[in-house]
């Protein structure tokens, strides 16, 4: 049986980098991996989704509705959008960060401020974490992704990998310490 992870957010939030580090770690653990990223139009401020499946042998690269064991959302409303993909009993990790889309900015649609409260009533395993706030506190919004990676590693109990060591292959040297701190902070948030 494969484990299915869905990463969702908005173009430019660093989802692709997070999925690369995650996949490299899973490969180190000896798993077969399939990962699916759809890019193109989504780069221009649209929704971005990455799907990662791992196990002894993985065939299909995609994840259908009600098939995700764990969803990590970089943004509140994207967690709401991805909710139908969560398996019953699965875990949702979401940043409480908000990014307004054009229909919201122009007043054509309303941003559902109470999305997390409603989700908390429905989803048993929900972790709302302030990854973006932590990144701001550390002084670089771009480490939000690695903070969320820390949280995901804790949830999935993927402790057999030296994640902090692995980060050196994926982030610039001058930002390595910051990323390690972000990882540790995210890990501690669960």
């Amino acid at each position: 049986m494969a484990t299915n992870i869905l990463l969702v957010g908005v173009g430019g939030q660093g989802i692709i980098l997070m999925s690369k580090v995650l996949a490299a770690g899973l490969a180190q653990m000896g798993y077969d991996i399939k990962m699916s990223e759809i890019h193109g139009m989504s780069q221009r401020g649209g929704t971005v989704t990455t799907q990662i499946r791992y196990g002894d042998k993985v065939y299909a690269p995609g994840i259908g509705e009600q098939e995700a064991d764990c969803i990590v959302s970089f943004e509140k409303v994207e967690a709401l959008r991805a909710l139908p993909f969560l398996k019953k009993g699965g875990t949702m990790i979401t940043d409480k960060h908000e990014i307004y889309s054009m229909p919201v900015l122009t007043g054509k649609a309303e941003y559902p401020g109470n999305a997390l409260e409603l989700m908390a009533e429905a989803v048993e395993n929900l972790h709302i974490i302030p990854a973006m706030d932590k990144a701001l506190e550390l002084g670089n919004v771009r480490v939000q992704n690695i903070c969320l990676l820390g949280a995901l590693v804790k949830v999935l109990k993927l402790d057999a990998v030296d994640w902090k060591g692995l980060l050196a292959d994926y982030v610039p040297e001058k930002a390595l310490d910051l990323n390690k701190q972000a990882f540790a902070a995210g890990y501690a948030m669960i």
Partner: protein
């Protein structure tokens, strides 16, 4: 054995390297773009971004006839542009191997249609190979080059978005020596005049028959025996969905070499199972062949022709696997459509166009500016294929004229699209003396596909210095007089309005070139770093005029406009020009 996580596109490039391919050409198009980008990083390979898919394939054909293993890559609709050389090289055959990668897009993730390019293999009489994951992308490319040379036939290598952009573990092998086959003159083979073409058609039919014999025993076509109660015939990504749903419970005929189809093997398989399912995305390409062999099977009667497949769809259609109830909440997520970036030069163009809607009706084209179709700009009324934004105006203007519609027709293409097929379209406009406005939205890059260089750039994809083509000089060279030509900064709304006024005032062709580089170009972004606009809350009266340009860096809160995201604001100044109360100023200049 070294294993690496690779996308299908990366694996295709790696496979070409391992196969000793040394020439590659492509035109950028999602989901195929990264193939050439990865090939360009390999020193042994001469890689080029072509002006369009036709010139890309023709370059590769030239190299293959000359003696180098060559590859051309394009998205599915690109093969429509390259169909002419494909059908010709189908007859001539090759010298060194030639592989044409077509990246189809079921689900229209970033395309105008879902055409199934496997049919091009039948039409052009070329071999067809379909991998089903990254490992096969690499392995099958090597096999494709071998088939191309052994049977003197071009190979169409068909992948789909889910193959191109999915990643999996790939076992790497050593890169191969560059293959060079000595060039030998052979006019009767390579000059497709009627007398030669008739002969070559006969030769091709014979070689296709030989290739079909090979296909019956090739390792690309294999049977995985399971229960004989159910036999599944499948290819490409659909194989993964079949395995996901049926595991090892059914027998599977997994096809990788699908033109010519291995009819003997299909008969052997279908004759040995009780019931047959054909699982394939898109059109019933294999299903039709199975039925033509006299077998009844389940396929497109249950599996949709439209859209992208996945394991859930296949499971629900064929295995009665219906999804369980999941989670839901009462509120809906507001839509998040892709938008023009903060600082995008196209925003000024589309705002100006919107203001002139009563006088101008516009036709669109393919590129970032396709995003101008959405609200609030609703920037154009048609959007079909590359180049049509300019040539389409000629007929459209005639049609409006016949109906007494006084509006002038405007067409638009980007710089890369202009080089792709807009040049010939513009020549038609000028030669037809059409009463239209032709706009070239020049942002100095092929932006939508992720910033590839084009003929307007002074460096090629491998970093070599090259002569940049001057769009304005080219258009002047076509005989467009100075009073019918304007070069404007699209973020200067006054200049934009003056250009449109001048264009509407005259009868006949008028050319407007909007010139300002994309804000995502590294050097431009660096120059703009630290620059942003700010709104003085005391001067802002909350009229919302500045929000009409739909800039994602702006927001409207507590009855005042604000620059909500200064980091993405480039201080382009468009919102300042919208403000009548002098409430917005630039910071960091």
């Amino acid at each position: 054995m070294v294993k690496e996580i690779m996308s299908g596109n990366e694996a295709i490039a790696r496979g070409a390297w391992e196969a000793g391919c040394s020439f590659a050409a492509a035109y950028p198009g999602t989901p195929s773009t990264e193939i050439l980008e990865n090939l360009a990083e390999i020193r042994e390979i001469s890689a080029r971004w072509a002006n369009n898919e036709k010139t890309a394939l023709e370059m590769a054909i030239g190299a293959a006839i000359g003696g180098l293993r060559s590859l051309a890559a394009m998205k599915h609709v690109g093969l429509n542009v390259a169909a002419d050389p494909l059908c010709a090289v189908g007859y001539t055959g090759v010298n060194a191997g030639l592989v044409v990668v077509t990246a189809d897009d079921p689900g229209c993730h970033s395309s105008q249609n879902e055409q199934d390019n496997r049919f091009y293999a039948l039409l052009a009489k070329v071999a067809l190979v379909e991998p089903s994951d990254s490992q096969e992308c690499k392995d099958y490319i090597k096999e494709a080059f071998a088939i191309s040379e052994r049977f003197d036939i071009p190979v169409l290598f068909r992948v789909t978005t889910r193959i191109c952009h999915s990643k999996g573990l790939v076992e790497l092998e050593q890169p191969g020596e560059t293959v060079v086959k000595p060039y030998q003159q052979n006019r009767s083979k390579y000059c497709m005049l009627p007398a030669n073409a008739r002969v070559r058609h006969v030769v091709r039919e014979e070689s296709l028959a030989e290739l079909e014999e090979y296909a019956n025993t090739s390792s690309l076509n294999r049977i995985e025996w399971g229960s004989r109660k159910l036999g599944i015939v499948t290819s490409g990504i659909s194989y993964q969905y079949a395995k996901e749903v049926f595991g090892n419970s059914a027998s599977i005929l997994k096809l990788g070499l699908t033109n010519p189809l291995p009819r003997t093997l299909i008969k052997e398989f279908c004759g040995a199972v009780d019931e047959i399912y054909v699982i394939e995305e898109g059109e019933p390409f294999i299903e039709n062949a199975v039925k033509a062999l006299g077998f009844s099977c389940t396929g497109k009667d249950k599996i949709p022709i439209t859209g992208e497949l996945n394991a859930s769809i296949v499971g629900a259609a064929l295995a009665g696997k219906n999804p369980q109830a999941g989670y839901s909440v009462e509120v809906q997520a507001p839509p998040r459509p892709p938008v023009l970036c903060a600082g995008c030069p196209h925003r000024g163009f589309f705002w100006s166009l919107k203001k002139n809607k009563k006088r101008i009706v516009a036709m669109g084209d393919i590129g970032c500016y396709s995003l101008g179709v959405g609200e609030p700009f609703a920037g154009f009324e048609t959007n079909l294929c590359m180049g049509a934004g300019i040539s389409g105006t000629i007929g459209f203007a005639k049609a409006l004229e016949k109906q007494g519609d006084p509006r002038k027709v405007l067409g638009m293409v980007g710089d890369s699209t202009f080089f792709h097929s807009g040049i010939t379209s513009l020549i038609d406009v000028i030669h037809a003396d059409a009463n239209v406005i032709a706009c070239i939205l020049d942002n100095s890059i092929t932006a939508m596909t992720g910033h590839q260089v084009n003929a307007g750039s002074d460096r090629d994809v491998q970093g070599n210095e090259v002569p940049a083509i001057d769009v304005v000089a080219l258009i002047r060279g076509l005989g467009v007089p100075e009073d019918r030509l304007r070069v404007v900064d699209p973020l200067d709304l006054k200049a934009m309005q003056q250009a449109l006024d001048a264009a509407v005032a005259v009868k006949g062709p008028f050319v407007i070139i909007t010139k300002r580089p994309c804000v995502l170009i590294k050097e431009v972004a660096r120059a703009n770093a630290g620059r942003y606009c700010q709104v003085d809350p005391d001067k802002c009266v909350g009229c919302r005029a500045c929000t009409l340009i739909a800039c994602p860096a702006m927001a409207f809160k507590d009855n005042k406009s604000i620059i909500a995201d200064p980091a993405s604001c480039t201080a382009c100044g468009l919102c300042m020009q919208m403000c009548k109360f002098d409430a917005i100023s630039k910071v960091g200049e």
